[in-house]
Amino acid sequence: MSMLPIISNFQGDFVLQLVAVDSENTMDQVAAAAAHHSVGRRVAPQPDKVIRVRRQDAQAFFPQDARIGDLGVQPMECLEFIFTDAA
């Protein structure tokens, strides 16, 4: 369990932001942490959507229940947070 700073690139927002997460956090928890700094501040909420996370330039999203510490995400790696249709 350790602090992991990541870069949030949130869909619809204008700026990259620093977000601190825990290596034990699931990707849903990571998404919620990033959303805290964008949604309702400069990005309109989309309650019917799910926020998924992927690496910059990747197509595939990380599994929602995977722990970030197990995925090889590097400190200060830029991750994209995307609104998607609920499964």
């Binding site: 927002d13 700026v15 990259l16 620093l18 805290h36 910059q56």
Partner: protein, 501 residues
């Protein structure tokens, strides 16, 4: 006794190259200070400055300029600028004085380096006057706003901004150190006087002076036009230096300096001048959008200067022109949202009428930047001001030291441009910023952005309050909305009218 005309003696008097006998040429003009790229000194004698003046002429004209600027200031001292000017205009003044005034001293040092180490006699002559110019500019721009210190703490803070760890001050220092304070004489001639001054400050000061007159701030208008006349003279130091380098087979090295200079200058103008023109200046006083201004002066005029000298346009030219559409909008949104971290009060500039103007000048603005401002406006109208303020730091570019940002909303194109160098990952705003770093990684690699410092534990406590403490900003000094959110009330009225209809 009759006095000889200047043209009869000037060329002889400025021919001050000599052959040293007691030291080697390389000791008198070390390459690290001179930067003549191996071009022999005899070749530099072909350097021909387009603007020629003598010391007595210089002193007489400068005395007249100073007398004019100070007399306008004295005459208007009792006008109540602080009470009468639009809040956005005062913000322009505070940002300008804080970011620029002490940078003029850095420019003075740079001119002094050309005065001592410039390989061409004409360059040394011109730079002597340039050095005196920059000293005058620093003193004017410290003295003129000083009268406001007693009634506005932000004007007071602007005087020390350049010495602080405030992020915009770091960005200004990093840029100015790179372009001219920490360069050799020839690089300064190219990067400061040609790229920065010919390309940007000259036209910027013309525009700023006209804007000041338009809003009725005649003191600032006369101050800025007084400075601009100096700039237009000493900005001509770089052109002939480029001609000598090109004539002696150094086009590539010369161009590289031009490209780096333009790219860095563009970022600083994007964050300072862009918001000033498109958001802070009251709508009724706007003559041109920032984009129109850039297209006229940079694309229309500076591009011709590059081509006339025989230089190729920078590889990133089209990309930079594309950025005219959005980069300064993104910087403005960032400065406004992180407003507690600046020493001026950003004017949001997004009332209904102002948004109509933005949409007209930048088609698609409402669908992109407008989407973020919609959320902000709604929060303001609900009284949820906390949601319009940050709880974390933006990621800062390892080159510009400005937030990494681009187009939001339905045109979302924000991304990181990372680079791994010697095991450290750097983050950039664009491929242009990354390219600058790659030209000389050892020059830039050890610098830490505000975010790097935060992660290294240098900012305590590790939150926004710690960051404000680190930047030395206290309540009353840190920025807030310039118009106390009056712009949002206009939206409430519109919503009420629509409901009634």
């Amino acid at each position: 006794m009759a006095i000889l005309e200047r043209s009869k003696w000037y060329d002889l008097a400025r021919a001050t190259n000599w052959t040293p006998r007691y030291v080697a040429e390389s000791e008198l003009f070390p390459e690290t200070m001179s930067g003549s790229l191996g071009v022999e000194r005899s070749k530099w004698e072909a350097y021909d400055e387009p603007y020629k003046t003598s010391y007595p002429e210089y002193v007489r004209i400068q005395r007249e300029k100073d007398a004019a600027a100070y007399s306008v200031k004295a005459a208007l001292e009792r006008t109540k600028l602080l009470e009468n000017a639009a809040p956005g205009w005062l913000s322009i003044l505070k940002a300008h004085y804080g970011a620029i005034a002490l940078g003029e001293y850095a420019a003075m040092s740079a001119e002094a380096r050309m005065t001592r180490f410039g390989p061409a006699p004409g360059m040394r002559n011109m730079a002597t006057f340039g050095m005196l110019d920059e000293n005058r500019h620093a003193q004017l721009q410290l003295y003129f706003p000083h009268e406001h210190c007693k009634s506005d703490r932000q004007f007071d803070w602007a005087h020390k901004a350049y010495h602080s760890n405030e992020w915009a001050a770091i960005a200004a220092r990093h840029t100015f150190d790179d372009l001219f304070l920490a360069r050799d004489a020839i690089s300064i001639a190219i990067m400061l006087t040609f790229a920065f001054e010919t390309g940007f400050t000259n036209m910027q000061f013309l525009g700023l002076s006209a804007d000041a007159a338009e809003v009725g701030d005649y003191t600032f208008s006369s101050l800025i036009s007084s400075i601009q006349t100096d700039e237009s003279r000493h900005a001509q130091i770089g052109g002939p230096a480029l001609q000598v380098l090109l004539a002696n087979g150094h086009k590539e090295e010369a161009q590289k300096r031009v490209y780096m200079g333009i790219a860095r200058a563009w970022r600083i103008f994007g964050v300072l001048t862009g918001p000033a023109m498109d958001y802070y200046t009251p709508l009724s006083h706007r003559k041109q959008s920032f984009k129109e201004f850039m297209q006229e002066w940079i694309v229309g005029q500076f591009e011709r200067s590059l081509i006339d000298l025989g230089l190729d346009l920078p590889w990133y030219w089209d990309k930079m022109i594309e950025e005219f559409d959005y980069q300064h909008h993104a910087y403005h949104l960032g400065v406004w949202f992180w407003r507690p971290t600046v020493w001026w009060n950003p004017a949001a500039g997004v009332s209904p009428d102002e948004r109509d103007w933005l949409e007209e000048k930048y088609p698609g603005w409402n669908d992109t930047f407008g989407k973020c401002w919609d959320v902000i406006t709604e929060n303001v109208l609900k009284g949820n001001i906390d949601a319009t303020k940050p709880e974390t730091l933006p990621i800062v570019c390892n080159m510009s030291q400005l937030p990494i940002c681009a187009v939001p909303g339905n045109g979302w194109n924000v991304r990181d441009y990372p680079l791994v160098h010697e095991g450290r990952t750097y983050h950039f705003n664009s491929e242009i910023d990354r390219w600058i770093f790659q030209q000389d990684p050892s020059r830039y690699r050890d610098h830490m952005t505000v975010v790097d410092r935060f992660l290294a534990g240098m900012i305590q406590p590790p939150d926004l309050s710690g960051a404000l403490k680190y930047m030395n900003l206290a309540p009353g000094e840190m920025g807030d909305d310039a118009d106390n959110y009056a712009w949002a009330e206009a939206w409430r009225n519109i919503a009420a009218t629509r409901r009634a209809a």
